[in-house]
């Protein structure tokens, strides 16, 4: 188990290095210079050179990259003299547009995205998995047929469309819900939940459709397996068979996909954030690209990659814990 995790971590590190290199190269190729964007109007060549020196982008590309990596571990200082800005480790860069280290921006933006994803995930997992399981057990009934219909519609809907219609119906037209806003959970849990209800409902409904379809199929699959038949033959009650044996086996692939979905979403749910006017990581990243705020782009891309990579590892470990048939090696 330990060896497995260590090996996975090493591979993950290699993945992150490659992704950071690609991102670095990609933005080095951007035709317009971030220094020019920052410098504003009527900038002379010297002004731009000065800004470039402060950003550290006057250096050759490999040097910039090693500077970046060193900053992650020991921190770094941008510019010198009166203009010096300290960026403590782990320094993912310093955003001169915001005048703060990128990690601080992320610390402000990530909780928003995490809250959206957390609530949404609870909703879609609970709703999706239970709907799927029940409809598998009650296969062929009116309930099953209705569930199939609803989930198919849900799976064919897009977040930008469904979210907007919810917004019109529940907020603009009737005022049943407030326009989404973010209040930190630690500040006021009730307002936190009330402000995020709409994105949760949107993500919850749309994704639960996918999860319901998946869990129904998985459950049907499991119910026809030999070990379930064995359990039945042993004389276990249907309840025991379903919950202790079938569910446990059926849920394994769902955990995998949920883990990856959550990991991916944590990196930013841009469309959801922009539809509901929430200032999460996804919006920060897209805006950063548009403003050529490269340190922030770099950091968010890496962070998104970290989430996915970590989710992969967690899922693999969970797999082994849940499903006795799987052994890590």
């Amino acid at each position: 188990m330990l060896r497995f995790i260590v090996r996975r971590l090493l591979v993950a590190a290699a993945t992150l290095v490659v992704i950071s290199l690609v991102t670095f190269g990609l933005f080095f190729a951007v035709p317009s210079s971030p220094a020019k964007v920052m410098c504003g109007k009527s900038c002379t060549a010297e002004d731009i050179a000065q800004v470039e020196a402060r950003l550290g982008i006057d250096q050759p590309l490999p040097r910039q990259y090693t500077d970046f990596v060193r900053g992650v571990f020991v921190g770094r200082t941008y510019g010198e003299g009166d203009f010096a800005r300290r960026c403590p480790a782990p320094c993912l860069g310093y955003s001169f547009r915001n005048n703060q280290p990128v990690t601080e921006i992320i610390a402000q933006r990530l909780p928003v995205t995490a809250s959206i994803v957390a609530g949404g995930a609870v909703l879609w997992l609970l709703l999706g998995v239970s709907l799927g399981m029940v409809s598998a057990l009650w296969r062929g009934t009116v309930f099953d047929r209705a569930a199939i219909g609803v989930t198919l519609a849900g799976a064919s809907m897009q977040v930008y469309f469904f979210g907007l219609i919810l917004l019109y119906v529940l907020v603009y037209a009737t005022g049943l819900l407030p326009f989404p806003s973010y209040t930190p959970l630690t500040e006021n849990p009730l307002r936190w939940a009330a402000g995020l209800l709409l994105p949760w409902m949107t993500l919850g409904f749309l994704n639960s459709a996918l999860y319901a379809r998946l869990s129904r199929a998985q459950m049907l699959e499991t119910l026809s397996e030999d070990f379930v038949r064995t359990a039945r033959a042993k004389g276990l009650s249907p309840r025991q068979v379903h919950l202790r044996h079938a569910l446990r086996a059926a849920i394994t692939p769902i955990v995998t996909i949920a883990g990856l979905d959550i990991g991916t979403s944590l990196g930013g749910t841009f469309i959801t954030e922009s539809i509901f006017g929430l200032q999460g990581l996804g919006k920060a990243t897209v805006e950063a690209v548009q403003f050529l705020n490269l340190p922030l782009v770099m950091a968010t891309v890496l962070l998104a990659a970290v989430f996915i990579v970590v989710a992969n590892i967690v899922v693999d470990v969970l797999y082994a814990v849940i499903d006795p048939r799987v052994r890590l090696n």
Binding site: N99, I105, G149, V150, M157, Y168, F179, Q279
Partner: protein, 582 residues
């Protein structure tokens, strides 16, 4: 079996369909719009009554509450040296006070009075070369220390710094005429003097400007934020943007870039020293990152949480029809602004005068306007200056029908099909507008290539002298309501530099430059007519642009915001005397 789920979607949509889908849309979407354009009655007032604090109380106004301002994007700059956009200027006005300011009460009367200064400035020798301002007694910063004339001088000094170059540079250029404004003096950093040549502070309350040439517009220039005081000890240079040191009624409570800015009361602000601001609300909250449709829909809905909200973002076309019903219409603040939008023709590339004239006959101003909201967005233009400019009179050199004159275009093009590159900002509204132009000009016999430019760098790109484009839309509003802040910055070829140009047609004709010099030397009373005559002369002889439309503001506020009117000085909802209804 599975098809029944379709009814779910239609059912949800049906709610919206009932709301707006089954009524007939008629020609007058605006609901009986009055098509008036008003000329600003701007004047400089030395009357003691106008210049005295406190500002007149607003009938029925109450103190307290917090105003929320919902915006699409964050302010680029709040540093007074870098503040040059109307929304930033109005916000800046809550935080710091310039020498002069505009006094408005919603009746259309616009008075320039002293803000920090006791009056709009003394023309010491009567030749507009030496200007003296006396600061009010008892104006304090947020820490209780007094505002001094040295801080005003230092504030202007730092606006010369290359790293803080985004603000207006009228005073700066007047102090150092000929050449780039900061070629000789680069601000107080890196060993520079704390104040530029020509500015003296005989005592703590007096500041004197000495210009080599006469500048009778000085009272207006002193209303721009660069003359706000910055104490040297509080100067954080490029970080000052995020937390300007307050000399106004509010100070920064918190500022999270691109997310929210919160202002709270500055306890050391004394209303008795301030003729402009009543500062009724206890605080302000600016939220950023919403889309214009979200803002407008929220303000239309007027939910309890949003009732004390407003926005400086024009209602987007999609939401306009929802603002005409009774309860909403009364919360619309609209009217003409000082901005004129033109289709700039890059005269360095399009040198054939006939093509420039043909473009003027070809552009379908109706289509260009309807793409961005029709009459709510503006009215068709034929002149360079806007009707709000002093001395304005309407003329039309070409007299083309609103959707263009095909025969004239064909005649002027004489069988040619010029290939022109039309650059546009890549946001949806501007893309729609550019596509309307492309289609229109293509039909009229031009070969149009569309080039989208990232919105954040649009003006940078077209402001490069050697930009590769032929046509691009741009808007400009005067810094004060005379032609002197429209014609010279936009059409004087001598002001063309390598980057950051305002003269976007790159018109460089000595006749125009000479005429500008002649008008500048005219007595103040004759200048207005002079600028207007030059406006027409440029359109008749040089044709550097196609005037497209006079901009109009169309903004919404919640039902709990009181004393809402359009500021004639800034073309947006005013902030100085607004209040929250309790």
């Amino acid at each position: 079996m599975r098809g029944r789920t379709r009814t779910l979607t239609c059912g949800v949509l049906a709610v919206a369909l009932v709301a707006g889908g089954c009524t007939r849309t008629t020609d007058s979407g605006g609901g009986g719009e009055e098509k008036k354009t008003k000329t600003q009655t701007g004047s400089i007032s030395y009357e003691a009554a106008d210049n005295r604090g406190p500002a007149a109380a607003v009938d029925g106004a109450t103190r307290g509450g917090t105003v929320t301002v919902m915006q699409v994007s964050d302010f680029e700059h709040l540093d007074p040296a870098r503040n040059y956009v109307n929304v930033q200027q109005v916000t800046g006005g809550l935080l710091y006070r310039a020498l002069n300011g505009y006094k408005e009460n919603g009746s259309g009367q616009l008075l320039l009075v002293g803000d920090l200064a006791t009056n709009p400035g003394k023309d010491v020798d009567g030749d507009c070369k030496v200007w003296e301002f006396t600061l009010r007694d008892g104006v304090k910063y947020e820490d209780g220390s007094p505002v001094t004339s040295r801080d005003v001088a230092y504030g202007i000094g730092r606006s010369f710094a290359p790293s803080l170059n985004e603000g207006p540079h009228y005073i700066q250029q007047w102090l150092y005429p000929g050449g780039v404004y900061n070629a000789a003096y680069k601000g107080p950093y890196d060993g520079g003097k704390p104040a530029p040549d020509g500015i003296t502070t005989p005592d703590d309350r007096t500041i004197r400007f000495t210009f080599p040439q006469p500048h009778c517009d000085m009272p207006y220039a002193a209303a721009l934020p660069t003359s706000a005081p910055v104490p040297a000890g509080k100067d954080t240079r490029d970080q000052y943007d995020l937390r300007p040191f307050s000399s106004g009624p509010y100070k920064v409570k918190s500022y999270q870039r691109d997310v929210a800015l919160e202002l709270e009361r500055n306890p050391n602000w004394d209303p008795k020293t301030d003729p402009l601001r009543t500062a009724y609300p206890d605080g302000w909250r600016f939220t950023f990152g919403l889309e214009s449709a979200q803002i407008a829909e929220r303000l239309v809905a007027d939910a309890p949480a949003d009732q004390a909200s407003m926005s400086w973002v024009d209602v987007p076309p999609a939401v306009l029809p929802r603002t005409t019903s009774g309860g909403v219409a009364e919360r619309v603040v609209k009217g003409p602004t000082q901005y004129t939008w033109v289709l700039n023709i890059n005269t360095q590339r399009v040198t054939d005068l006939n093509i420039r004239k043909a473009l003027n006959y070809a552009v379908d101003k109706d289509a260009v306007l309807k793409a961005i909201g029709g009459q709510a967005a503006g009215s068709p233009a034929t002149t360079l200056m806007s009707p709000t400019t002093a001395g304005f009179h309407q003329y039309d050199v070409f007299n083309a029908p609103i959707s263009g004159d095909r025969a004239k275009v064909a005649e002027l093009l004489a069988g040619k099909r010029p290939k022109l590159v039309l650059a546009h900002s890549n946001i949806e509204l501007r893309t729609q507008q550019a596509e309307a132009l492309r289609k229109n000009l293509t039909d009229m016999g031009f070969d149009i290539v569309m080039k989208p430019i990232e919105n954040s760098s649009y003006y940078d790109e077209i402001g490069r002298k050697n930009n590769p484009y032929d046509l691009y839309i741009g808007g400009w509003g005067s810094d004060w309501p005379t032609g002197s802040t429209i014609i010279p910055p936009l059409y004087d070829g001598r002001e063309i530099v390598a980057e950051g140009n305002n003269n976007l047609s790159y018109l460089n004709e000595s006749a125009v430059s000479a005429e500008i010099d002649r008008i500048r030397k005219l007595p103040a009373a004759e200048q207005d007519a002079g600028w207007m005559a030059l406006d027409e002369k440029i359109m008749r002889e040089s044709v550097p642009v196609v005037p497209c439309y006079y901009d109009a503001a169309y903004e919404l506020h919640g039902s709990k915001i009181g004393n809402t009117f359009l500021s004639d000085a800034y073309g947006i909802l005013q902030a100085n005397t607004i209040y929250v209804k309790q």
